[in-house]
Subunit: 363 residues, 2 copies
């Protein structure tokens, strides 16, 4: 959805701070969002939603039909992080992440999970010779082994059988593959890599490979290759510069994007968009990191991933100029840091990082 | 199976050189096997099996019932690598790796896929600060998404649905988990990490987690923790020293062990054992790398992974002393190298590496 920035516009934003460090990083993200759009003809009308482990412990609800309907009435969603303290007995059977995060992704048809990986200048990588890291993983978001199509018989007995079904449809694969080709075509290198495990998962793999082959005909300018998921992890550490755009299924994308975040400075910097490209439902933007309850409330969390998620949000809303300004301010801020690659070792408080980025934006 | 090394003993070894660089690296592995056992009271009676892409192109067979019966009559198997030239149209529908490698693993009930990762002194890691890397992944080998339980309807139409089923049984999970605890108990650190994705694959994940909890009671000396597979990839590059023994399913194990090989010097050094611990079927030892047809026949391949697979083979056969001598010779040889971390850049010929290790063994 592209709009002229001259037109006056109100954007209804659902804000889900969530648990742990979520509220802290979201406070900074909202600060940056307000600052960058202060002089644009755009107003963000924010509604805060109290969802996550804290809400579950209070009310017993993870995501009600009312929550979902209210959120769906917004133009976009900004989410911090959800999930309680690991091992909390009261959360034993709750699975907040699945119920809430996957609940939103599936209900709002977020079939594109967009996860850019950029090694910003000055950021230490765990790799000795990282080279240029600048790629995007387009992870499918509504199919694969994430569909919840599992079951067990004879649970708790020596005869238990527990199955999990990965469901892949031509409809679902084609739309995400076409989106990925679009992303590749818009980038200078125009290179798309399908990652799968076609030699073992032969039916799903065949569907993915045939779909990529078919859609490739519409994008003759994009060069295409293929890697098995195991080999892809080798390239991630041995030669990440080989990647431009990766398209892959929900589970492989989950695994690869954590690895991609790790090599490009850690999950403290990794942003993501859960996108419904047609805009039938609001898209959702969130840092890749979790709620890190151990460091919550101490102003220790790095809000950069949440702030970069704001850049993705602005871009998605057609506010490309504001998005670029956020990215530039983050890049400038990162260049001033000495040790910024982990959530735990942020040398400045969460708010100080947000303030610094706002200063860079407005100066 | 533990035997006194004093007893005279004949071991029937099935040798499957395979395709590409397979025959070259196996020649060196056999050279080392013969040298290290020359003065022991043990004789390896070798039968060579012609299996792989070359055989398929000649006869149309991947693995016949006769092949399988003949191989099963041996005490152990040494395999090089199988697989033809990628994109060879004659192999389009063959899937040699799946038919042969998985055919052997499943038919011979190789439920333990043992993959040690050691960063040998002198070997460059792609990680800036690898620390001590010395862990073992115990990958399940006969279940999970590898069972071939997939299917598709309406193939080739816009209504196609392609499913893949991960099958996990209490029987299958428990035996591999118990083996992994045994490995952990035998190591100085005695630390076992279950890797899975219990928050999404809730049925399979629950079975794995409950099984680990239950078997842990038998091994009070082993400390146990858990990582989601995505988080495990982060630790692999950020802090691989945290791992001692990892137990995981077939697919997660496939992915993690390629990553583990990459951080510890590359797949040119990664050995593996496909083990049937009870000895009902012969176990199979093979380098993790593939057949690399592009460099085949040129004496460019590093045979170290195949030679380290011989060490695993000897260990499995109860010849621990010979196994240790092979490992020591490989370690000494690696220490002399300047650039040994990739199959393609081995500065010596394949045979020269084998010869050097034999010299170290016999001097
Ligand atoms: C929390 C979990 C359900 C989620 C996922 O697996 O998708 C997370 O790992 C992510 O990548 O956003
Ligand atoms: C070739 C392939 C079928 C095999 C696997 O996926 O197990 C390989 O990647 C391995 O790890 O041995």
């Amino acid at each position: 959805e592209v709009v002229s920035e001259a037109a006056s516009r109100t954007i209804k934003l659902a804000v889900i701070p969530g648990d742990g460090i979520g509220p802290e990083v979201i406070a900074e993200a909202v600060k940056v969002l307000d600052a960058v759009t202060a002089h644009d003809n755009v107003t963000f009308e924010k509604t805060q939603f109290s969802l996550g482990a804290a809400r579950f412990l209070e009310t017993g609800d993870v995501l009600t039909a009312e929550d979902l309907a209210a959120i769906a009435a917004h133009d976009a969603i900004l989410l911090g992080a959800v999930g309680g303290v690991p091992g909390d007995p009261r959360l034993k059977d709750a699975n907040i992440e699945r119920g809430l995060l996957l609940g939103l992704r599936f209900s709002l048809d977020h079939y594109v999970n967009l996860r850019p990986s950029i090694l910003f200048p000055g950021v230490p990588s765990p790799l000795a010779a990282p080279g240029v890291i600048d790629f995007v993983v387009v992870r499918e978001g509504t199919e694969g082994p994430y569909v919840g199509n599992g079951g067990a018989i004879r649970q708790g007995t020596p005869q238990e059988v527990a199955n999990e079904v990965s469901v892949n449809t031509a409809f679902g694969v084609e739309r995400v593959v076409r989106f990925a080709f679009g992303v590749a075509a818009s980038r200078p290198r125009k290179q798309l890599t399908l990652v799968h495990k076609t030699n073992v998962l032969v039916f799903a793999g065949s569907l993915w490979q045939r779909t990529v082959n078919a859609v490739a005909a519409e994008f003759p300018e994009v060069s295409v290759d293929y890697l098995h998921v195991d080999a892809a992890t080798i390239f991630m550490v041995a030669k990440p510069s080989r990647f431009d755009v990766v398209v892959t299924d929900n589970l492989f994308g989950d695994i690869l994007t954590d690895l991609a975040a790790a090599i490009s400075g850690g999950i403290g910097l990794a942003a993501s968009g859960n996108i419904n490209p047609e805009g039938r439902f609001p898209s959702m933007f969130e840092p890749v990191h979790g709620s890190a309850p151990d460091i919550a409330g101490k102003q220790l969390a790095d809000p950069t991933a949440a702030i970069l998620s704001v850049a993705l949000l602005l871009d998605h809303l057609g506010l490309a100029d504001a998005a670029a300004r956020v990215s530039a301010a983050v890049t400038a801020d990162i260049a001033t840091r000495t040790n910024s690659h982990s959530l735990e070792t942020a040398p400045r408080s969460t708010a100080a990082v947000g303030d610094a980025i706002v200063t860079l934006l407005t100066s």
